[in-house]
């Protein structure tokens, strides 16, 4: 195998498995070295490279590096490196290993040229990442991780079913552009949609991410959802349905973010909102729009990691990220404050930051395509981003009223990781061409026109003005310790009650039937016989399509059950 055929994703996975067996210092060296080597391998692999292996007679394209996969693979590797630095203060074998395997799986999935390979790594991202939530060690984290896994595996099951149906219909396993319409493509679309946190399929994200460990949430924020954005860009670019879905995603989380007390959960709502911007770009599908989606994903991974890192540092030092218990930390953690503000202005999209030069492409694409309502929703959502990520996060953590916490500044390794992310945000903002040059299509647009700088600044600064007015008049709502219901309520409350009822009914029936033990045994034996008899309905060989369908139903039922118990 030559260097050009090395797969940076597999490299990370193997390194992660080795790391699981190493003592602290060597393991940490490996967590840093593996992404560095991965980046070197990626740079040395020519765009257009493909690597095909035959498994059980099936040719699988385990590596396909093209102009769309390249920026995602690169940013995933960069994120893995930053995350490794951020985690250096802790000695945690399980988290180090799972973070690497998880990153590797996301990279390998990005580089997958066929649907089977995609499915394998799609599932691996789910399984490897759950440990980052479990490692928090709380009952809440344990239960959230179970719900997380159910959604993630559910997405995998739908993907598998979709691939099988799609394969039967087209005879092709290649992962390329698909036309939404057939059962297979719909199943694949929804599988992607779960991981991309579509409205009503979104709640696993806000449920689980904030329950993960200090470092785990940072890792989680980078990969799963952006892998989903990539798969949409690959499979469903220009699908008009993605435009309203994406626009809805930019808007609805902002209302939840305003009233959420847990600041890492606020950031999770914000993450959901950012995915909406990317999906709108994918849905519009023009070259400018795809560039917008991809560059936004790239920039977003860095500033979102930075924001989660700063809140992780607060959690690590203070022991909580509840807005109602924080405030005034700028005195204790000045560097964390500065880095958090850089992340906040970047996500809000002020000029000279990465958010400005990337979001502008998507907005520009909506303008050129004449999508008035979408454009209005996007700038409405931009004011929303200003509210929850631009102001609320830094304001309630570091300013507001003094909560009385006097803590140490974040550990040096955390500060270094935050500094690198902050530098990345500014660098991309000041030198957008560096990012534009690795986009799938040539970028002709200059983000820094006078008009664009002034109008975007007007929008954002007058949002800040509104905040100032509301705070000074006492109209801005107080942070209240609370649980805000979301779609998971339906399964966790009425769903659980329903299940309890069914179980009790079954127990009663069982008691009633116990008296007829002999009859039951005879019936069971008759049933078993019927199932093995090829002349009965049960005994007949089943076509694979129906098999896949019932497997999906069974796993769906499992999904429902594990939610509520």
């Amino acid at each position: 195998m030559t260097a050009t055929e090395l797969n940076p994703g597999l490299l990370m996975i193997v390194a992660g498995l080795i790391a699981a067996c190493l003592p602290r210092r060597t393991r940490q060296a490996l967590t840093l070295a593996a992404p560095a080597v991965g980046i070197a391998v990626l740079f040395s692999t020519p765009i257009g490279a493909e690597s095909v292996v035959t498994v059980a007679g099936l040719p699988l394209t385990i590596l396909r590096l093209d102009a769309l996969a390249y920026p995602f693979a690169l940013i995933f590797l960069i994120a893995a490196a930053f995350n490794a630095i951020y985690a250096l203060h802790q000695d945690d074998r399980l988290q180090d290993a799972s973070a690497m395997v998880y990153a590797g799986a996301a990279i390998a999935a990005t580089l997958a040229g066929d649907l089977v390979t995609l499915f394998v790594y799609w599932e691996l991202t789910a399984i490897s990442s759950v440990f980052l939530i479990l490692a928090a060690g709380t009952t809440r984290a344990y239960r959230a991780s179970a719900r997380y896994l159910v959604w993630q595996i559910g997405s995998g099951v739908l993907l598998l079913a979709g691939i099988l149906v799609h394969y039967r219909a087209t005879g092709s396993l290649a992962f390329g552009h698909m036309q939404l319409g057939s059962t297979g493509t719909w199943l694949i679309f929804i599988a992607f949609g779960i991981k991309c946190a579509f409205p009503f399929l979104h709640n696993w994200l806000q449920d689980a991410y904030p329950e993960a460990t200090v470092t785990g949430t940072v890792v989680l924020s980078a990969f799963t959802t952006k892998l989903a954005v990539y798969t949409f860009a690959r499979g469903f670019a220009g699908e008009p349905l993605l435009v309203p879905i994406g626009a809805a995603m930019t808007c609805f989380p902002v209302f939840f973010a305003v009233i959420e007390n847990d600041l890492r959960r606020v950031l999770s709502f914000s993450l959901n909102n950012q995915l909406g911007f990317m999906l709108v770009g994918v849905g519009i599908g023009s070259e400018l729009a795809i560039n917008g989606a991809v560059s936004h994903a790239f920039a977003h991974i860095i500033y979102k990691a930075l924001l989660f890192m700063s809140m992780g540092a607060v959690l690590y030092r203070v022991g909580t990220v509840k807005a109602s218990e924080l405030g005034g930390l700028y005195k204790s953690m000045p560097w964390t404050t500065v880095f958090c503000i850089v992340g906040a202005v970047s996500i809000a999209g002020f000029p000279l930051t990465s958010g400005f030069v990337t979001k502008n492409l998507t907005l520009g694409a909506a303008e050129s395509a004449g999508y008035l309502w979408t454009w209005l929703l996007l700038i409405f959502a931009s004011a929303g981003v200003m509210e929850h990520s631009g102001i609320k996060i830094p304001y309630f953590a570091f300013f507001s009223h003094d909560s009385g916490h006097r803590v140490e500044e974040a550990p040096t390794n955390m500060l270094v990781a935050m500094a690198l992310c902050a530098a990345g945000c500014i660098f991309i903002g000041v030198f957008p061409q560096a990012l534009y040059s690795i986009m799938p299509y040539p970028v002709a647009k200059d983000p820094y026109t006078v008009e664009s700088v002034i109008t975007k600044t007007q929008l954002l600064v007058f949002s800040v003005l509104a905040f100032g007015v509301l705070v000074r008049t006492g109209l801005y709502p107080k942070e209240i310790p609370s649980t805000n219901l979301n779609t998971d309520w339906f399964l966790r409350k009425p769903g659980a009650a329903l299940l309890k009822g069914v179980v009790m009914l079954a127990a009663k029936l069982n008691d009633a039937v116990a008296g007829f033990g002999t009859t039951t045994a005879r019936a069971t034996s008759d049933l078993m016989q019927a199932m093995n008899d090829p002349n009965t309905q049960f005994g007949k060989p089943w076509p694979t399509g129906r098999m896949a369908f019932w497997t999906t139903v069974m796993l769906g039922a499992y999904l429902f059950l594990s939610y509520v118990v």
């Binding site: 973010a257 007390n261 004011a383 600064v461 609370s482 805000n484």
Partner: protein, 88 residues
């Protein structure tokens, strides 16, 4: 750090009302400058609605206030006790 020690420490820069007012007036000045800047460049609106004078300022301000009040209203519907799910 014990409480008496904290009482002796200097108030931070942002804890002095005078400084907060400075920031506020600074913000007002920037808003004023941005309002005037509207007349200093050539406009290329893509949509009719952008032709409304000071559209982005008005939109940003109203959107922000709307989001905050809508969030407040949402609380009456979905806000529960912090331990709501822990009791199961």
């Amino acid at each position: 750090m014990s409480d008496p020690e904290r009482e002796r420490e200097q108030p931070g820069w942002f804890d002095r009302p005078g400084n907060v007012n400075k920031l506020w007036y600074g913000l007002l000045a920037i808003c004023g400058a941005l309002t005037i800047s509207e007349f200093l460049y050539e406009h290329h609106p893509h949509f009719e609605i952008e032709k409304i004078p000071e559209f982005f300022e008005i939109f940003g301000f109203i959107a922000f206030v709307f989001i905050v009040f809508a969030g407040k209203a949402l609380r009456t519907l979905i806000m529960r006790d912090e331990t709501y799910y822990d009791r199961d």
